[in-house]
Symmetry: C2
């Protein structure tokens, strides 16, 4: 059955992004540590594109261990993505320059429709490699409805950021979270667990695997979602 | 040099204790999952005492892997302990029954002086095996002063709970934290990271080792403590 899932990375102290996200610091100032386990993998190195906002080229071509397997798994059986605006590109407010097509270059690695939550309408942007960015201005339920239809029986992956994931968690719409806990402190930024009670929402930890640069945990919902 | 250190366990969602701690549920309702990695170790099984409030006897005598090594390390070079009241025994308010000598039986595993923070004075209690409980009513600085003197060049370990550790963190008095992250969600309870910014306080993650039932991280303070 088609699932709605989340793939995300948090720091030891529970932050999903550092403060002051911008084009220069897409994960916030100091937030790049959250991506280090990803950047080191062969899967990432192979999909990496010189047009991306963030550049992390490794001469060794990337590692092939546990972290690599977990990162590759994030893309398996995904038929559509949902992103907060910041995941398309760390710019806020009205679209000033529509020639800029986001942080992911001409060939984003998503290979499927990506539904971007925003308050500012914009025409869909077809990219190379199967990714099309669609801009959704009528909320999380409509985005999920469209993503589910586009996924055509495959899974919908909510890629972040923190605020987007929290909205879907509170609405009881997420079946499974695949979290990487990276061995770093951020101290401040966006708290992933914030004021959300994942036990009350019906989640338990069902898997726990140590990678080279992160610990991978799976949280699955076993109980009914709360009524809305 | 003598260090002030913390050894503690937190859940994936950052809680250091579950809600409603009591004699029946010393780690709060559902909080025992935090101890599972400890209970499984040979070191714990060997120090385990049938008089303790919590009983976790394993027929296999306990495991000897990475978790066991990390748990044993918590006791190395420790010359004195500091506990919040709840760590002595999960009872609150004035001492009603002084014949009760805490949750740790006649032979607690600490083998050194333990300074218990409380608002209620009580005579010191010498136990078998080298542990003596001293009750400190004049605050965290005085407790640390006495523990440092008693440790006589060895380390002082702050054993918890969350509130006690947070007070010492905010005061800039902790050199090192050894945290175990257990693969479970608590959903509610006492947030270990609460509103504390460990980066601003000068800590970085210096070690990250996967055990069988927990991930072990070391946080060390590299910068000067903030002025008080």
């Amino acid at each position: 059955m088609s699932k709605v899932k989340v793939s995300f990375t948090v720091s030891i102290d529970g932050f999903g992004a550092a403060p002051q996200q911008s084009l220069e610091n897409p994960m916030g100032i100091g937030g790049e540590v959250l991506g280090e386990w990803v950047f080191a993998t062969r899967t990432f190195q192979r999909m990496h594109d010189k047009e991306w906002t963030f550049q992390h080229i490794r001469k060794d071509g990337g590692t092939t261990g546990i972290d690599d397997a977990f990162f590759a798994r994030r893309f398996l059986n995904v038929g559509a993505w949902i992103f907060g605006r910041n995941m398309f590109g760390p710019v806020r407010g009205a679209w000033r320059d529509t020639s800029w097509k986001g942080a992911w270059g001409e060939t984003p690695p998503f290979c499927n429709p990506v539904f971007v939550l925003t308050h500012y309408p914009r025409e869909s942007i077809p990219m190379r490699g199967g990714t099309t960015f669609h801009f959704i201005t009528d909320g999380i339920y409509r985005a999920l409805e469209r993503a589910t239809a586009a996924a055509n029986g495959k899974d919908v992956c909510i890629g972040g950021g923190v605020n987007t994931i929290q909205q879907y968690l509170r609405a009881g719409l997420i079946d499974e979270l695949n979290l990487a806990i990276c061995p770093a402190l951020l101290g401040s930024g966006e708290r992933f667990f914030g004021d959300i009670d994942l036990v009350k929402l019906g989640y338990t930890c069902t898997d726990h695997v140590a990678g080279e640069r992160a610990t991978h945990v799976a949280l699955e919902r076993h109980a009914a979602a709360p009524s809305q």
